[in-house]
C-alpha cells in the first residue's frame, strides 16, 4: 500500500511560471477534481490549500491598482454601467482568481472534511476580497459567492462542533469591511440575470450562515436588512395585493421587484437577521415595509376602537386597509368572554384562497361575506398593528414546502417580538392581545402542526432528493417547523393548548422516538488502493499543518436530520408543556422519558478531544453514546418543563433516573449546557423532590457554589436559585456548609452590588449635551445634511444619548453612514420631509427596545436586581424553618455576615433609589396616548419583569409619561422589596433579643413606613407580618411581657402602629386580617391607642370599633375585594 500520488495538475500548477500557464493548470485541476473525492483528498494532502491561497493573494496584489481607480471613478455610476465597465477589463488576474475560486468551490463541495482544511489554510479572506461589485467583475462575484456558500453549507452540517475552525467562516464573512460588500451587492438595482444571481446567493449565504448576535448586527449596520426589506416590499407591491399602502412617494422609491422565486430566499435571510426584538422591530418599522403596509393605530387601546375603524373603512371607502384581511378566513372577536364562549361561525366566502385550502378550516372559523361588512365582531390582523402579519399569514396558508416555511418562520419571529413592537395592550388583558392569540390559535398553530405532519409522512415514505445545497433540503421543513412551533407557543398558554388540540404531542413524541432508530449508512466507504490512515507518516513535500489534513467527515445528512429533529421535537414539547400540568402528564404518558434521559448524555471526553469525531453514523444516533450540544440543551429544557410538577418529580422523573445525567452535565464545558442543567437542578432540588438527597450527597453544593461565583451572569443567578432551594428545610449542617462554601464576603458583595442607576449616566449625558443630539447628521448623496433617523422635531431624540453609556456603536449612526458611503439609491430611508408621524413613534420605540436589549447599564442593573433577589431569598431560606432552631440559625447568619452590614444593605433596598431629576428641558408632549413604554411579555419573563425599570405604579392609568419621565421614576422593583421585607420578617421571628436588635435599627424601621401604601399588596402584607412578629410575646413570663411592651411602645413611637391601623382599611382582606392581629397584640400589651387598658376585648368586638376609628366600614364577608 502507498500514499496516493499528488494529481498531476497540482504539480503543473506549482511549476507554472507564467500567469497563463497557471490558468491552464488550474482549468485542468478543476476538471480533474469535480466529483472526484479521492483526487480532492490527495490535492488537500499535497498542499493545494496553501497554493490556492497564495495564488488568490497574488492575483489580488496584481489587480490592486485597478481597483483603487474603480473605487473613485465608479462612485456615481449605476450598477449596470459599473459592471459593464468592469467586465470590459477582464484581465488574466481575474481569470486566475475565477479558476482558483471554482477549484476551491469544487473542493468545498466535498463536504465538511474538505472545508475544514480550506478554512484552516485561511482561504476565506482572499476570497472575500473579490466580493465588492464596485471592484470586481460580476462573474467573479458570483463564483466567489457560490464558493463561500458551498463552504457555509458544508459547515452548517457540523452539528457536533467537530472543529472550532468551522465557526470562523461566518465570523469573517459577516464582519467589517467585507459585510459592506454584501450590502453593495444587494443595493444594485439592475435586473440583469447576473446581478439577480448575486443577490439570491447573498440571501442564501445570510440564511445559511448568519448566527449569534454579532453577525446579524454587522449586517444590520451595513444596511442589509433595510435593503432586503425594500426588496421584499417591492415584490409584494408588484404582486398587487389589495389594500396596500398608497403613499405614492414611497412607492416610486422602491427598487425594481425581484423575481418571484427570490421571495422566500429574501424572507429566510431577513429571518436570520430578525432574531431579536430590536432587529425584528427594525424590519417591521422599515420605511418601505411600513409604507406598503400602512401602520394601523399603534395604540388601539380597546378592540372596539379597531372595530369602529373597520366599520368606518368598509362603509365609507369600501376597500380600506383591511382589504388584505379578506385573503384570510374571518374570526369573530373575543369580547371579554372566555375562549369557551366562542361560537362557531358561518362558512367562508369571498376569499382568494383555493377552496381546498379552506375546506378544512371553514367550519371552524370565518363568516359570510355578507355578514362581514356589517358585523362588528370579526377580528382582523390589524390587531397586530401591521398588515405585514396578514400578508405573511396569507403566504403561509397558500404556499407550500420551503416557501411556506419561510413565511411561517418570519411570522413566528414577529409574533415573538409583538409585545415590544406593538405594545397596545398590557399582556393578559382582554382586547387586542386576546384577539391576536385567537388568530394564531385558529389560523397558524394548526397549520404548523399540519406542516410537521406532512413533512413527517413525506420523509417517512420517500427518499429525499438532496438539492445542491443542504440548507435548502426539504428535510429542513420538518426540523424548522417544529422549531417554529416551539417559538410560537412559548409564553402563551392559549397557544400551547392550541398545539395540544391540533395533535402536536402525539406527533412530536412519535418523531422524537423515531430519531433513535438506526439509519442505514448510504455513504459507505469507497474502496481505495491507498491508505486512508491519516496518522501515517507524511511525504516530505506535505507538512503537518491542518490545511493539509482532511477534517472529520461529520455525519451523514440523514443522521444530522435525525439529530436536529430530536432537538427540535424536544424543544417544541418543552414549550408546549411550560405551564399546564395536564399537558405535562400527556407528554409523560407518551413514554418519552427514556428518550429525554438518553438525550442528556454528553459525548465522552478523550485525550484528543471528544468521542464525537470518531462516532459512526449508527452510533451517533444512539443517545447513550452522546449527543450534540443542541440536543442536550433541548433535552434539558424539556426536563425542566416536565420537572415543574410535584407529581411528575415524585413519579416519572425519579423512575426515569433524571438526577444522574443532569448532575454529570453540571461540569460540561459548554455554557448553554451548564445553563440547561442548572435550570433543571433548580427544580430537582426543591424540598419535595425525591432526587434532592441524592444530589446533595453527590456533591452538588460545591459545584453550584463554583457556578455562583462564575463570571456568567445567568449561571450566577440560576445557581443561586438552585442553592436557595437546596437550603430550604435542609439540615442545619447542610445550611451552614452551603453558606460557608458560598462565602459571606461574596454574599455581601452580591447583595451590595453596585446598584448603579442605569439612567444616571443617561441623564448626565443628556444634561451635558444641551439640546444638540449627537452626530446623527450625515451628508447624503447630494451633499445635503440629512439627519436620517432624527427629524428635528423628534421629541425623544435625547434617548440617543444613552448609546454613549454602553454600546460601542449605535447602529442608527452606522446605518446612516453606510447608506451614504455606499451611494445607495434613494428608496432606502425616507427623507425627513415625508416622514409620517408614526415614523417618529417607530423611532422612539426602536430606541427603547434597543436600550432595553442592548444597553450595558440597563442589562447590568437588571442582572443585579435578579441576583440580589435570589441572594435575599437564599438567606431567608436559611432561617425559614421554625422547627429547626430558627433563632440559632439567625444568630449564625447575623454573625457570619456582620449584622450591621446586613442591616445597612437591607436599608438600602428599602429606601427609594434617589430619584434622578428628570431633565426638564423643553419637551414636547408625546402625541396623545402613544407613550413608548415597553410592556414585558409573559411568564418566561416573569423574573425579568420583576426587574423591569418601569415604575411600579401602573402607567396605564396615568397620562402617558414621556420617555425621560419614565426613566426618572425608577423605584425598587416590588419583587426585590418583597424579598427584602420577608427576610426582615424572618429575623423578627427569632427570639426576643433578635427582635430588639432589629427594632434598634431605627432607620430601617422608618424606611418601612412609606411602603405601607405600596400598591403591591404582598409588600403591605409582609409589613404587617413584620409588625406582628416584633410585638410577639414568646411566653407569659414577666420578663417577656416587659420587653414585648417595650417593643410595642417603640413601634408606636416609630409610627408603625399608626400605619398598621390605617391598614385596617386596606382594600385587600388579607392585609386587613394581618393588621387586625397586630393591633390586637399591641392593645393587649399597651392598651388602646389613647392609653386606656382595653386588651380584654375579643377580636370580634374590635372589628367594628377599629374599622370605625379609621373611618372605613367593613362589609360583610366577601364584600371586600380579596385581590386588587
Amino acid at each position: 500500500m502507498a500514499r496516493a500520488p499528488p494529481p498531476a495538475a497540482l504539480a503543473d500548477l506549482r511549476a507554472a511560471s507564467s500567469i497563463q500557464s497557471q490558468i491552464v493548470a488550474l482549468r485542468r485541476l478543476k476538471n480533474d477534481l469535480i466529483g472526484h473525492d479521492q483526487r480532492k483528498e490527495a490535492c488537500i494532502k499535497h498542499g493545494a490549500v496553501n497554493l490556492l491561497v497564495e495564488l488568490l493573494n497574488g492575483a489580488l496584489r496584481a489587480g490592486g491598482k485597478r481597483r483603487r481607480v474603480d473605487v473613485n471613478g465608479g462612485k456615481n455610476a449605476t450598477g449596470r454601467e459599473r459592471r459593464s465597465s468592469v467586465d470590459e477589463r477582464w484581465s488574466h488576474e481575474d481569470e486566475l482568481r475565477l479558476q482558483c475560486t471554482i477549484v476551491v468551490g469544487s473542493l468545498a463541495q466535498g463536504g465538511l472534511a474538505y472545508v475544514t482544511p480550506l478554512l484552516a489554510g485561511g482561504i476565506v479572506q482572499p476570497l472575500l476580497s473579490a466580493l465588492s461589485p464596485r471592484e470586481t467583475p460580476a462573474t467573479l462575484v458570483v463564483a466567489t459567492l457560490r464558493t463561500l456558500l458551498a463552504c457555509a453549507d458544508a459547515v452548517s452540517m457540523d452539528i457536533q462542533f467537530l472543529d472550532p475552525v468551522t465557526t470562523t467562516l461566518a465570523d469573517q464573512v459577516f464582519s467589517k469591511p467585507d459585510v459592506g460588500a454584501l450590502s453593495e451587492i444587494l443595493a444594485q438595482t439592475s435586473t440583469t440575470d447576473i446581478v439577480q444571481e448575486q443577490q439570491v446567493l447573498v440571501y442564501q449565504l445570510i440564511a445559511c450562515a448568519c448566527q449569534g448576535l454579532d453577525h446579524p448586527n454587522a449586517l444590520l449596520r451595513a444596511g442589509a436588512l433595510d435593503l432586503m426589506a425594500a426588496q421584499l416590499a417591492a415584490s409584494i407591491m408588484a404582486d398587487g395585493y389589495p389594500g396596500l399602502g398608497t403613499d405614492s412617494k414611497n412607492l416610486t422609491d422602491l427598487p425594481p421587484p425581484p423575481p418571484k422565486s427570490h421571495v422566500s430566499h429574501i424572507l429566510r435571510a431577513i429571518s436570520a437577521l430578525t432574531t431579536t426584538d430590536y432587529r425584528c422591530a427594525r424590519f417591521v418599522y422599515n420605511p418601505s415595509i411600513s409604507s406598503i403596509f400602512p401602520a394601523s393605530k399603534l395604540q388601539s387601546s380597546t378592540s372596539s376602537t379597531a372595530v369602529y375603524g373597520q366599520l368606518f373603512n368598509s362603509s365609507l371607502q369600501g376597500s380600506g386597509p383591511e382589504t388584505l384581511d379578506r385573503l384570510l378566513p374571518q374570526l369573530s372577536t373575543a369580547f371579554g368572554k372566555p375562549e369557551t364562549s366562542f361560537s362557531k361561525a358561518f362558512p367562508a366566502l369571498g376569499s382568494f384562497a383555493s377552496s381546498s385550502e379552506y375546506s378544512r378550516a371553514a367550519s371552524l372559523f370565518a363568516e359570510s361575506a355578507a355578514a362581514k361588512s356589517s358585523s362588528p365582531t370579526r377580528t382582523t390582523t390589524q390587531e397586530f398593528g401591521t398588515q405585514l402579519v396578514t400578508w405573511l399569514l396569507y403566504k403561509a396558508r397558500t404556499e407550500t414546502g420551503l416557501d411556506r416555511l419561510s413565511a411561517v418562520w418570519q411570522l413566528t419571529l414577529i409574533i415573538k417580538a409583538k409585545d415590544k413592537i406593538f405594545p397596545d395592550s398590557p399582556p393578559g388583558e382582554s382586547g387586542p392581545s386576546r384577539n391576536r392569540d385567537r388568530i394564531l390559535t385558529y389560523l397558524l398553530v394548526p397549520l404548523i402542526v399540519r406542516m410537521i405532519e406532512e413533512a413527517n409522512n413525506e420523509t417517512k415514505n420517500n427518499p429525499i432528493v438532496e438539492p445542491q445545497f443542504r440548507h435548502l433540503s426539504p428535510l429542513r421543513i420538518k426540523e424548522l417547523a417544529m422549531s417554529a412551533l416551539a417559538q410560537l407557543v412559548e409564553d402563551s398558554k392559549g397557544l400551547q393548548q392550541a398545539a395540544v388540540d391540533a395533535g402536536a404531542i402525539k406527533l412530536l413524541c412519535q418523531i422524537l422516538k423515531r430519531t433513535f432508530d438506526p439509519i442505514p449508512d448510504r455513504r459507505g466507504k469507497m474502496w481505495t488502493p491507498y491508505s486512508t490512515d491519516t496518522n501515517m507518516e507524511m511525504d516530505e513535500e506535505t507538512d503537518q499543518s491542518k490545511s493539509t489534513q482532511l477534517g472529520s467527515r461529520g455525519l451523514s445528512p440523514e443522521v444530522v436530520h435525525a439529530l436536529r429533529c430530536r432537538a427540535a421535537a424536544m424543544e417544541a414539547l418543552a414549550q408546549i408543556g411550560q405551564v399546564d400540568d395536564n399537558i405535562r402528564k400527556t407528554i409523560i404518558e407518551s413514554g418519552i422519558i427514556a428518550c429525554v434521559v438518553d438525550s442528556l448524555t454528553a459525548y465522552q471526553e478523550t485525550p484528543v478531544g471528544t468521542v464525537a469525531e470518531s462516532l459512526s453514523n449508527a452510533d451517533a444516533l444512539d443517545g447513550k453514546k452522546g449527543n450534540p450540544i443542541v440536543v442536550i440543551v433541548a433535552a434539558c429544557n424539556l426536563a425542566r418543563a416536565l420537572s415543574r410538577s410535584v407529581n411528575i418529580l415524585r413519579t416519572s422523573l425519579i423512575d426515569g433516573g433524571l438526577a444522574k445525567p443532569i448532575y454529570l452535565l453540571l461540569k460540561h464545558p459548554n455554557m448553554s449546557v451548564k445553563h440547561g442543567a442548572v435550570n433543571v437542578l433548580c427544580n430537582l432540588l426543591l424540598s419535595f423532590s425525591p432526587m434532592r438527597d441524592e444530589l446533595i450527597q453527590g456533591g452538588c453544593i460545591k459545584i453550584l457554589c463554583e457556578h455562583a461565583h462564575s463570571a456568567d451572569n445567568d449561571l450566577q443567578m440560576m445557581s443561586l436559585w438552585a442553592l436557595k432551594h437546596l437550603v430550604y428545610q435542609a439540615s442545619p449542617d447542610t445550611k451552614i456548609s452551603c453558606l460557608d462554601e458560598l462565602g459571606a464576603g461574596w454574599l455581601i458583595q452580591t447583595l451590595t452590588g453596585e446598584m448603579r442607576d442605569p439612567f444616571s449616566s443617561f441623564t448626565r449625558a443628556t444634561a451635558s449635551q444641551g439640546s444638540t443630539p449627537i452626530g446623527m447628521g450625515t451628508p447624503n448623496a447630494a451633499g445635503e445634511q440629512v439627519d436620517l433617523l432624527n427629524a428635528a422635531d423628534d421629541p425623544t431624540m435625547d434617548v440617543d444619548a444613552s448609546s454613549t453609556s454602553g454600546e460601542d456603536e449605535p447602529e442608527d449612526d452606522a446605518m446612516a453612514d453606510s447608506i451614504t458611503s455606499l451611494n445607495l439609491p434613494r428608496y432606502l430611508p425616507n427623507p425627513p420631509a415625508v416622514q409620517r408621524p408614526t415614523n417618529l413613534q417607530h423611532r422612539a420605540r426602536l430606541k427603547l427596545i434597543k436600550r432595553d436589549e442592548q444597553n450595558a447599564a440597563v442589562m447590568a442593573w437588571k442582572h443585579e436586581v435578579r441576583i440580589q433577589e435570589q441572594a435575599l431569598d437564599f438567606l431567608r431560606n436559611l432561617i425559614s424553618d421554625p422547627q429547626s432552631e430558627q433563632d440559632k440559625m439567625i444568630d449564625h447568619v447575623l454573625a457570619t455576615l456582620d449584622a450591621q452590614r446586613l442591616f445597612d444593605i437591607l436599608l438600602s433596598k428599602l429606601r427609594p433609589s434617589s430619584p434622578q431629576p428628570a431633565p426638564q428641558r423643553d419637551q414636547p408632549r408625546q402625541p396623545h396616548g402613544k407613550h413608548p413604554a415597553l410592556t414585558t411579555p409573559g411568564s418566561a419573563a416573569r423574573f425579568a419583569a420583576s426587574a423591569t425599570y418601569s415604575p411600579a405604579y401602573s402607567t396605564h392609568r396615568h397620562p402617558p409619561p414621556s420617555t425621560a419621565s419614565i426613566l426618572s421614576q425608577i423605584t425598587t422593583p416590588p419583587d426585590l422589596l418583597v424579598s427584602t421585607i420577608f427576610l426582615i420578617v424572618h429575623i423578627a421571628n427569632g427570639r426576643a433579643s433578635q427582635r430588639q436588635q432589629l427594632l434598634s435599627q431605627t432607620p430601617l424601621m422608618s424606611a418601612t413606613l412609606p411602603l405601607f401604601s405600596h400598591p403591591d399588596r404582598r409588600i403591605r402584607t409582609a409589613l404587617c407580618w413584620l409588625a406582628h412578629n416584633l410585638v410577639w410575646l414568646d411566653s407569659n413570663s414577666t420578663d417577656d411581657q416587659i420587653s414585648a411592651r417595650q417593643r410595642a411602645r417603640e413601634l408606636r413611637n416609630l409610627g408603625v402602629e399608626e400605619k398598621v391601623r390605617l391598614a385596617l382599611g386596606d382594600e385587600h382582606r388579607d392585609v386587613v386580617e394581618r393588621a387586625r392581629g397586630v393591633v390586637d397584640s399591641i392593645e393587649k400589651l399597651l392598651g388602646p391607642e389613647d392609653g386606656h387598658a382595653g386588651g380584654q376585648r375579643s377580636p370580634r368586638d374590635d372589628r367594628g370599633l377599629l374599622a370605625g376609628r379609621v373611618g372605613v366600614g367593613l362589609g360583610g364577608p366577601g364584600a371586600r375585594a380579596w385581590e386588587r
Binding site: V646, N647, N683, P882, F982, R1018, R1069, G1118
Partner: protein, 190 residues
C-alpha cells in the same frame, strides 16, 4: 393571578386537624406544596395517623382542583365514582355553599372571581403514597376516594368531606392553619 391569594393558601402552608368517622378520629396534617391559581390547581401531602396498625403514619400526594372558571361543582371524573346527586349532597354539607346551591346545579355555572371569595371550594384527590409512589395498595387503607373541600381564606380553616362509594359516608375533615408568623420559604419552579 399570583400563586397565592392569602397568607394561608400558598405553597408551604401547613394545616393540622382531624378526620372523623363514626367511631374514630385520626390526626391529619396537610402540607401545600404548590399552588397555581392560574390553572385552578394546587397539590400537597396529606398525612394521616393511626389508620392501620401496620402503618402508624401514611402520607399521600394529592391534587386539588379549584372550583371556578376551569372546574365546575359537578365532578367530571367518572372514575372517581361520583355523580351529580352525590356532588350536591356533599357540597350541601358546607354552610358556606348553601347560598350557591341553586345556581351551582346549572351545568354551565362558573364560580366567578373564585380567588377573591372568602370561601374557596375544591376537590382533593389522593394519587399515590409518599415516599414510595409504587406501592399501590395497603391493607386496611385506601385512597381511592376524594375530598370535597371548603377553604376559608380569612380564617385559614379547611373543612372537608371524604367520598368513596365503598367507604363510610361523610367522614369529616377539619383542619386549621398552623401559625407560621408570615415565615415562608422562598421556592418556585424554575
Amino acid at each position: 393571578l399570583p400563586n397565592s391569594t392569602s397568607s394561608f393558601l400558598r405553597p408551604g402552608s401547613r394545616f393540622t386537624g382531624t378526620q372523623q368517622s363514626d367511631h374514630q378520629v385520626y390526626e391529619v396534617q396537610v402540607d401545600l406544596k404548590h399552588v397555581d391559581m392560574d390553572n385552578s390547581f394546587l397539590c400537597g401531602y396529606l398525612r394521616i395517623q393511626g389508620l392501620t396498625d401496620d402503618h402508624p403514619t401514611l402520607t399521600t400526594y394529592f391534587e386539588g382542583e379549584i372550583i371556578g372558571s376551569k372546574y365546575v361543582f359537578q365532578t367530571k371524573h367518572p372514575e372517581w365514582g361520583s355523580n351529580e346527586k352525590i356532588d350536591m349532597e356533599h357540597w350541601g354539607r358546607f354552610p358556606a355553599w348553601r347560598p350557591l346551591a341553586k345556581a351551582a346545579k346549572s351545568p354551565n355555572f362558573t364560580y366567578k372571581n373564585y380567588a377573591q371569595r372568602e370561601n374557596i371550594f375544591m376537590r382533593w384527590k389522593e394519587y399515590f403514597l409518599v415516599p414510595n409512589h409504587r406501592v399501590r395498595t395497603i391493607s386496611g387503607a385506601s385512597f381511592e376516594g376524594f375530598y370535597y373541600i371548603c377553604f376559608n381564606q380569612v380564617t385559614g380553616k379547611v373543612s372537608g368531606t371524604y367520598f368513596h362509594a365503598k367507604s363510610e359516608k361523610y367522614q369529616q375533615l377539619e383542619l386549621e392553619h398552623v401559625p407560621d408568623h408570615g415565615c415562608m420559604g422562598a421556592f418556585e419552579f424554575r
